[in-house]
């Protein structure tokens, strides 16, 4: 079975955006778990802070997802036009982050933040035109 170019391109775009969402949510979750880095730096110094961040499993998984996201982005750009892939990945990532932040990070995504997310999505699409 061969996939049509449309399905192929949008599958790659959705995969790249999903990796970005998982990566950013894991990093955000890891940072919330650690607490304010300024406070950690005040007690443990800069090297101690870097060590604390690098020892956090959620941060490491998130950073790995972001690295994978970078390479899958290169693949997506090889099969889809930049003018389609860049705004589509950006827009899907912002919407996915807002949904994931509400349900996984349990952030209070109120009307103000939804409005901001939609402004960013439309703004990114308009800037890429």
């Amino acid at each position: 079975m061969t996939l049509s170019p449309f399905v192929h391109q949008w599958s790659a775009i959705a995969f790249v955006a999903a990796l970005a969402v998982v990566g950013e949510v894991m990093i955000a979750s890891g940072m919330r778990q650690l607490g304010d880095l300024d406070d950690i730096r005040a007690t443990r110094g800069l090297l101690g802070t870097i060590a604390a961040v690098l020892k956090n499993a959620r941060f490491v998984i998130g950073a790995l997802c972001m690295a994978l996201n970078f390479f899958s982005m290169l693949f997506a750009l090889s099969i889809a036009e930049l003018s389609l892939a860049a705004p589509a990945i950006g827009a899907l990532t912002y919407i996915g982050n807002a949904v994931a932040a509400k349900f996984f990070l349990r952030e209070r995504v109120d009307r103000r933040r939804w409005l901001a997310t939609m402004c960013v999505v439309v703004g990114v699409i308009l800037l890429a035109r």
Binding site: R32, L34, L37, R106, E107, R112, A116, V120, I125, L126
Partner: protein, 142 residues
């Protein structure tokens, strides 16, 4: 409880807004000097590491990642997100006022919407409080 940001935390958000776009601009300039990289010329990627513009770009991108992770330690992801979207706005404004490029109406609209988004979230609380989750997380990280 409404979290009020300290001046140093506003500086971190400004660093997020500026560092990625400045880093990308340096990388673009450096890679323009290095030449196109494809599967037959992967060695150029190693060569690129010795280009000063690429090196400066990498330093800025490391700075972006450090500022981004720092911001996520005291603010919500949905609070920090619009700041990360500000990069293309900075690039468009550099193009308009430094390189004297013409910006279309749709790009000005895009800039306006992203500026509005930053304004919307900046006026609200930076962090959602979850005392019970934070306690569980603190226990797990010990």
């Amino acid at each position: 409880m409404k979290h009020v940001l300290k001046p140093s935390q506003y500086a971190i958000l400004v660093a997020i807004m500026l560092s990625a776009s400045i880093g990308d601009s340096f990388l673009k300039r450096g890679m323009g000097q290095v030449g196109a990289v494809n599967l037959n010329h992967l060695g150029l990627l190693w060569h690129a590491l010795f280009n000063p513009y690429v090196d400066i770009g990498i330093v800025f991108l490391i700075g972006f990642f450090a500022a981004y992770t720092t911001a996520l330690s005291w603010a919500d992801l949905t609070f920090v997100m619009p700041a990360t979207a500000f990069g293309p706005v900075v690039i468009a404004l550099i193009g308009r006022y430094w390189l004297h490029e013409q910006l279309s109406v749709s790009r000005w609209l895009g800039i306006g919407l992203i500026v509005c988004a930053v304004g919307f979230v900046a006026g609200g609380p930076s962090r959602t409080e979850h005392p019970e989750l934070d306690q569980m997380d603190a226990g797990a990280s010990r």
